[in-house]
């Protein structure tokens, strides 16, 4: 993979991609350069960081064992897991690799933040607290009192 797309990213596009990779905890310029070379070349009109995010997100999707996850979500979740598990230090060249080092995927899944469980929604039916007719006039008195002030 490295060989195929090495040097395919021009200098202009390199800075935002290096910034993006830095957010994973990489700081060594050589590592940044090698990892950037693994990313596909963005189209001319494409935002290089955005394209890199999508590519990294897509790389994360099968690793995260997460159903129905978008590349954008996978990017955020995967990065959080990557950073919290200190993968940049443990496995500096694992990101975007075709062959994963042993234990990397398990560790990544362990670090996956699960903010909330999947939605299982239920309806909250808004109840009526109206008063029956005989009392309506009493309640109306309070309503009149609490009526909003009409703006001038």
């Amino acid at each position: 993979m490295d060989g195929l797309i090495a040097h395919s990213i021009d200098r202009r596009a390199q800075a935002p991609i290096h910034d993006l990779l830095r957010s994973f905890g990489f700081e060594d310029p050589n590592t940044l350069h090698s990892l950037a070379a693994r990313l596909p070349t963005p189209a001319d009109d494409e935002d290089p960081a955005g394209a890199a995010q999508t590519a990294i997100g897509e790389w994360f999707v099968p690793l995260l064992n997460h159903d129905e996850i978008t590349a954008e979500e996978a990017f955020r979740l995967g990065r959080a897991a990557f950073v919290t598990q200190e993968c940049a230090r443990r496995w500096p060249m694992a990101l975007l690799a075709d062959e994963l080092p042993q234990g990397f995927a398990d560790r990544l899944r362990q670090g996956l933040p699960i903010g909330c469980p999947p939605d299982m929604p239920t309806a909250m039916v808004v109840q009526s607290l109206d008063s029956p007719a005989p009392f309506a006039s009493i309640v109306a008195w309070f309503r009149r009192w609490a009526r909003p002030v009409r703006p001038a």
Partner: protein
């Protein structure tokens, strides 16, 4: 609607209620008839009728609580399961529950060390009991302070790490805290309601033992008609003299009152907003709260939602029980009189708002009574105040218009004064007795059990503490009466209270702060004392409890907030409670953990400062965004302002809390922040500006 088998409450609710209401009415009638005798008139004058109305309106409330306490004392004294749910739970000793339960901790700008230490304690307790598989935890944040929000995320990460709780402890932040706590819980139900059979709703200072949590699930599993069970919380961890007073009073007198309440409420009980288990399906089906028409304070979102939710469950046929016998339920109390008053202000508005709901269609009569009781708990103060003011006005009028024994017209007999002092003294003694007796019953109940007595430090310390509490609470009562009366008047004038987080830790109150807040009460007290001395020396004695408290309002506020006095009382063994003298393991564990949490979380930091120094936290924060409710509904104007300010100046100190919060929801900003890690401050600023530039261009 779900189907439910029938659990018949025993003893018969109609019998207990019939007796209670009959005794209340009878006592009020007798007191009222005696009150008329004070004036010894052939015909009542309008002013006297006015006084009579004020007196009976205040007195029936006192009588109701008096007889309920007597009932509670008898129920406790007989030591029998005094209702069906209690009877069932005493036979139950089964292992952990079935049924999936969510433990909900709604928070709003709270101290994370306290909140998360309590969560860890409960989690570990359930783990040790082998019941953790039946429970999941939710931290439902409504925090508006950006620093508090990021602090919570850091604490959540730490909690998951400490207990290996990933996938069982969840954190959700709402962008807008619509409808406050009730909206927070409703949001939970809407998103995850079908995932759980039950939810245990907590407050930020709540703590419940695993035994109680498991017992609650058992009770719900085995009583399909029960919608909600409230476990009255015991007040603990009082650090100031004021908090220890509240804690002692609630622990000593509370059992009698709650037993009495549970006895006559039976299956038509009430909900106090936390430390309760709720059947989620029933709640979702019945407890969607409407927004009341009109403006605040009577219109808008329902503030005291708990009473209304209990009433709605009851209206749909679900039973609502109170289970004081379960125990293992704790909470804290505001540390100072001023904090207590602030909380009271909020509760007062919420309860008075129930005037709008009192006559709602199809509510159970007892639910209406709960609502009315809540209203009366705040109206009682202005009623007593009006009664006192009317009495004083009457005396002032008498001073201005001396008695004429021989009028100008011809009469055979002198006109004797129309004031029967002996009846007045008798009534005053009756009122004092009805206030004191329930407390004495609490003391007697504590004294007659060897373990209970030891729990309060033994007979002597208990007696001295009781007298001390009595003196101090008598002095504080008129201060609270005036404050509550002021709240009621402010609310009736249309002034709404906000929703601020409570100060839960003891921080000293300075003399200046106390004087600014309560100095006017001191002046009023002095004025009242001078008037009484001028009017009649006997009146000084009648009004002494009132004006002494008022004159001492400022020193009482300062001194009861002083932790040194609290420590001294503790050293002397005064105002102690069983939980203080031999703390349950759960409380000790929570307290120990709180210090370790404080060390782990460090001092509170600004949100952006914290994120800039903690790369994993920033990555976590960005990852969590999409799991938060309505996270995309950030105010576009606020966000645009924040982006402009930051890209122009680079100075985060210029941002308001709202702008920082908007940026914390902004993926572009967060990516900019992440991109600048490990770089110089200037380079970081350039990265943030570069990430914000396209967004600024887009928004024009």
């Amino acid at each position: 609607m779900m189907t439910r088998p029938t659990l018949r409450p025993t003893p018969s609710p109609s019998a207990t209620r019939g007796i209670l209401f009959a005794l209340t009415l009878l006592t009020t009638f007798l007191a009222g008839s005696q009150f008329i005798q004070i004036f010894d008139d052939q015909r009542a004058e309008p002013f006297e009728i006015f006084l009579l109305l004020l007196f009976t309106a205040s007195f029936w409330w006192l009588a109701l609580s008096f007889w309920a306490a007597v009932g509670g004392f008898l129920a406790l004294g007989l030591n029998r399961p005094w209702h069906a749910l209690a009877a069932w739970s005493r036979q139950s000793s089964r292992p952990p529950a079935r049924g999936r339960t969510a433990i909900l901790m709604p928070i709003h700008n709270e101290d994370p060390a306290g909140v998360f230490s309590r969560l860890q304690t409960m989690y570990e307790g359930l783990q040790a009991a082998g019941a953790i598989d039946s429970f999941e935890f939710f931290i439902l944040s409504d925090s508006t302070d950006a620093g508090a929000w990021i602090g919570e995320e850091a604490a959540w990460r730490e909690l998951c790490r400490r207990v290996q709780g990933d996938g069982r402890i969840f954190y959700r932040k709402r962008r807008r805290n619509t409808a406050y706590k009730s909206g927070n819980i409703a949001d939970f139900c809407r998103r995850w309601g079908r995932r759980y059979d039950y939810m245990v709703v907590l407050d930020a200072d709540s703590l419940m033992t695993p035994e109680t949590l498991i017992a609650l699930v058992h009770l719900m599993n085995d009583n399909g008609q029960v919608g909600l069970i409230q476990v009255p919380p015991t007040i603990v961890n009082g650090g100031t003299l004021f908090a220890r007073l509240q804690q002692f009073a609630s622990r000593l007198y509370g059992p009698v009152f709650t037993a009495g309440t549970a006895l006559w409420h039976q299956a038509d009980g009430n909900y106090w907003g936390h430390n309760a288990i709720i059947r989620v399906a029933a709640f979702a089906e019945q407890c969607g709260l409407p927004e009341l028409p009109g403006r605040k304070p009577f219109g808008g979102h329902i503030m005291s939602h708990d009473f209304v939710e209990a009433a709605l469950l009851r209206r749909a046929g679900w039973q609502v029980w109170m289970a004081p016998w379960l125990g293992g339920s704790y909470e804290e109390t505001p540390p100072t009189l001023i904090d207590h008053a602030k909380r009271d202000r909020r509760w007062c508005q919420g309860n008075l708002q129930h005037v709008r709901i009192l006559l709602a269609r199809d509510l159970h009569p007892i639910s209406r009574l709960h609502l009315f009781t809540g209203i009366m708990s705040y109206l009682a103060s202005p009623l007593w105040l009006a009664f006192l003011a009317a009495g004083i006005a009457f005396l002032a009028w008498r001073l201005a218009h001396p008695l004429v024994y021989f009028p100008s017209y011809m009469t055979l007999f002198p006109m004797w004064p129309k004031f029967n002092e002996s009846v007045a003294i008798g009534l005053a003694i009756l009122v004092v007795a009805m206030l004191l007796l329930p407390r004495l019953l609490g003391v007697i109940f504590a004294m007659i059990g060897t373990r209970r007595r030891a729990g309060f430090g033994g007979s002597l310390r208990l007696t001295v503490s009781f007298i001390l509490e009595l003196i101090l609470s008598t002095l504080i009562a008129p201060i609270l009466m005036l404050l509550q009366s002021g709240f009621v008047i402010a609310i009736l004038c249309g002034r709404a209270a906000g929703w601020r987080s409570q100060r839960r830790n003891g921080e000293a109150i300075g003399w200046i702060e106390a004087t600014l807040q309560l100095g006017w009460q001191g002046l009023l007290g002095v004025g009242l004392a001078v008037f009484a001395g001028y009017a009649d020396p006997i009146l000084v004695w009648w009004l002494a409890p009132l004006f002494t408290g008022l004159i001492l309002a400022v020193p009482l506020t300062v001194l009861t907030a002083d932790q040194r006095l609290s420590a001294l009382s503790k050293r002397l063994g005064l105002l102690c409670t069983p939980e203080e003298l031999s703390p349950p393991a759960l409380l000790t564990r929570a307290r120990d953990l709180e210090s370790s949490w404080r060390a782990a979380l460090g001092p509170k930091q600004e949100a952006l400062q914290r994120l800039s120094g903690d790369r994993p936290l920033l990555a976590l924060h960005t990852a969590l965004l999409s799991s938060h409710s309505d996270w995309q509904s950030v105010d576009p104007e606020l966000l645009s302002n924040a982006r402009h300010k930051l890209s122009l100046t680079g100075n985060t100190n210029l941002l308001t809390n709202g702008e920082v919060t908007a940026l914390l929801f902004d993926p572009a900003f967060l990516e900019g922040l992440a991109a600048g890690y490990g770089l110089s401050a200037a380079a970081r600023q350039r990265r943030v500006a570069a990430h914000l530039a396209p967004q600024i261009a887009l928004s024009g």
